[in-house]
Amino acid sequence: MTSAPMSPTLSPALSQTVLTGMARRRLLSFAVPVAVLAYLLYAALAFDLAGLAARARWDNAGILLSDFWSYKTHVTRDNRSGKLTVAIEGEAKGTYPPGRLPDWVTVAGDVTTIDLGDGNIVTYDDQGARYVIPGYGTVAIRPAGGKLALEAPQPLPKWINASDNKISVTTPAGRFSYSRSKVETFKYQPGWELFFFTLDSPFYGKGPLELLQLATTAPRIDAGQTNLGYMLSEIWTNKMWHHRDVAWALFETVLMAFLGTMLAAMLALPLAFLAASNFMPLGAIRFAFRRVFDFIRGVDGLIWTIILSRAFGPGPMTGALAIFLTDTGSFGKMFSEALENIDEKQVEGIRSTGANAVQRARVGVIPQITPILLSQVLYYLESNTRSATVIGAIVGGGIGLLLTQAIITQKDWEEVAYYIVLIILMVMAMDAFSGWLRRRLIRGATDKG
């Protein structure tokens, strides 16, 4: 065909048709990428891509990334009372008790020495504070006459920010800031501190081997329970990471998805018969049910979620009902399409034995659509686990709520990272589980048939 123009046997009209067809096709293959590019260009303008570069906060990205894998310890001295606190992430729950400071903080009388590593030494004393920075020199700060006097090698580099009221120094080793009310040093260390045991736990700061020994052979710390049980309950009730609440939230999210999907499937199956042309002879009823399905799908989960949370208040049941309503529309449509595509011969066969409508449906129809039905339901179960995270953020339940709360505070990024990892693991686990179940059940179903 491609050599058509050269062939003498073809009529000129046919070769003309082929040539214009090819020309149109060639034009199309250029026009489509051009149209796509033009649209993207328009979108870039509409989304103000140029302004984005100015608005983007790359320092936030730095905070986020460093928070993901490290934690910071605040060493704070109140300049009025002279009280020193050492607290992980500056939180009350992460404050070291006075006698058990970390080994990089030493207190001798009024003098506190903080070793930030690599020769970076911060000293708080009764006259002010000093920060020895290797390769630069010593930054010394003395409050004098209501102002802060700074002594540092001139000229001041960009990472020292000095005014009369506040001086801050940012180095790779840590951050240091001095104001009239307090002096504060942040030390950054890798890891998620206090993930298992908080500072007030007897198990804090023990290595894995020590913990193993405690769990197995060592005498009981608390006479009332075994060490292993004590250890697990300390982890479970951890006040910094709230493992119990997080586990509940994950469970709630899966529960929302499970309840919503299954209830929707159970309601949609009988309704689908009423919307399928081969089971519902009355056109008006069929039409009505189809429009109901369309309406439910068209209103969309977002709006159902809003309406339902007004009636039932925040919580997992509201989320489950929102998923249930939205998916009833989708399942109703898909199931009725599956019902219309069945093989009528099996139904005929059952009918010939004198079976009534319910028996025909049970024996002649359901076995045919079971594989489609199951695979759709399981696919939705998996995808609803993801939606339940979003719906949880709207209705206030499950891991979605914890995640949005952690993001809104804009400081607990390590918790955000923790939740993200958990959500991904949860969705992947549901994906694997539904895939496994699908293979098992559908193979079983085809074996039967």
């Binding site: 499970f258 209830l263 209103v299 039932f312 997992p316 953020a393 991904i424």
Partner: protein, 294 residues
């Protein structure tokens, strides 16, 4: 039952009782398993629902009568102010366009990434077969990540606006479509690819000329389905994060009474848009798939 089994077994009547009991045994066992599974399933549903209700702020039965209260309140107020609706439609049209743009751009970008990922992770087509598991795992991770997670984190870095939503939805789309695309490409005929390879075509040429024409109808159909999903996702992301008609809806909702005409205007715009897009994509997909079959 026994009579239908008797036909082919007439030659060996002695085996019949054994087969019959075995069959009935099997049937009983199957029914028992089915019954146990059903009981477990019902127990899970009931206890799960009761647990969910217990942890909910309001109970199911006490909330049920109030289900209609909020829509009724909203609708009656909107009906009083129905004269405002046309003006409100015009007012919210730009944010609707923004929501649609977010969906379209993220479907386009995600779809293009999915094409690349699919070709890179399909056996027989991938230029680096050893890296297939890497691309597959990447798609799995992109699929598992809910859009809201990426969007909220990106809003912190990039500030508000539609770009975080686009990136979030596009990333998810690339994973979801990549898997579907790759399943289609696995069934493509490799003969055109071999033919092109024999005349010295590069990998890009082999894919563009040998594979794309075969898979284009199915891929387009999947991409259209994804567009439907993404329109909804972009509205929801607007509600939770920023940008588009979802955000306007949230503001109008927060205002509460007095702004319900706005709520209704946004509901209607969203509803009509979703229905129209569903319809168009349904028709287009039916045509695409039928065209491929002909």
């Amino acid at each position: 039952m026994a009579q239908t089994a008797a036909g082919p077994l007439a030659a060996a009547p002695r085996a019949l009782p054994g087969i019959q009991t075995a069959y009935l045994d099997q049937l009983r066992r199957k029914r028992m398993y089915g019954g146990i599974l059903l009981v477990i399933f019902v127990a899970m549903m009931v206890s799960g629902f009761r647990l969910a209700e217990y942890r909910n702020a309001g109970g199911f039965l006490s909330g049920l009568p109030m289900l209609g209260a909020f829509p009724a309140e909203v609708l009656s107020e909107a009906w009083r102010n129905r004269a405002n609706l046309p003006a409100l439609f015009v007012q919210f049209l730009p944010s609707l366009v923004e929501t649609l743009n977010i969906a379209a751009v993220s479907t386009l970008l995600g779809g293009l990434a999915a094409v690349l990922l699919a070709l890179l992770s399909t056996r027989g087509l991938a230029p680096w077969p050893r890296l297939i598991p890497v691309f597959r795992r990447f798609m799995d991770a992109a699929r598992a990540m809910p859009e809201i997670v990426i969007a909220l984190v990106l809003i912190y870095i990039l500030g508000g606006g539609p770009v975080p939503a686009v990136i979030a939805i596009a990333l998810h789309t690339s994973g979801a479509l990549g898997k579907l695309f790759s399943e289609v490409a696995e069934n493509a005929d490799l003969k055109p690819v071999e033919g092109l390879a024999s005349v010295g075509a590069g990998w890009g040429q082999r894919m563009a000329l040998g594979i794309l024409p075969q898979v284009a109808p199915n891929w387009l159909s999947y991409a259209l389905m994804r567009l439907e999903i993404n329109v909804r996702a972009s509205a929801i992301l607007g509600f939770v994060g920023e940008g588009g008609i979802g955000h306007d809806l949230k503001l109008a909702m927060q205002w509460g009474q007095g702004r319900y005409d706005k709520v209704v205007a946004i509901f209607l715009l969203l509803f009509l848009t979703i229905v129209i897009i569903d319809r168009l994509s349904d028709t287009a997909r039916a045509r695409l798939v039928k065209g491929a079959g002909a």
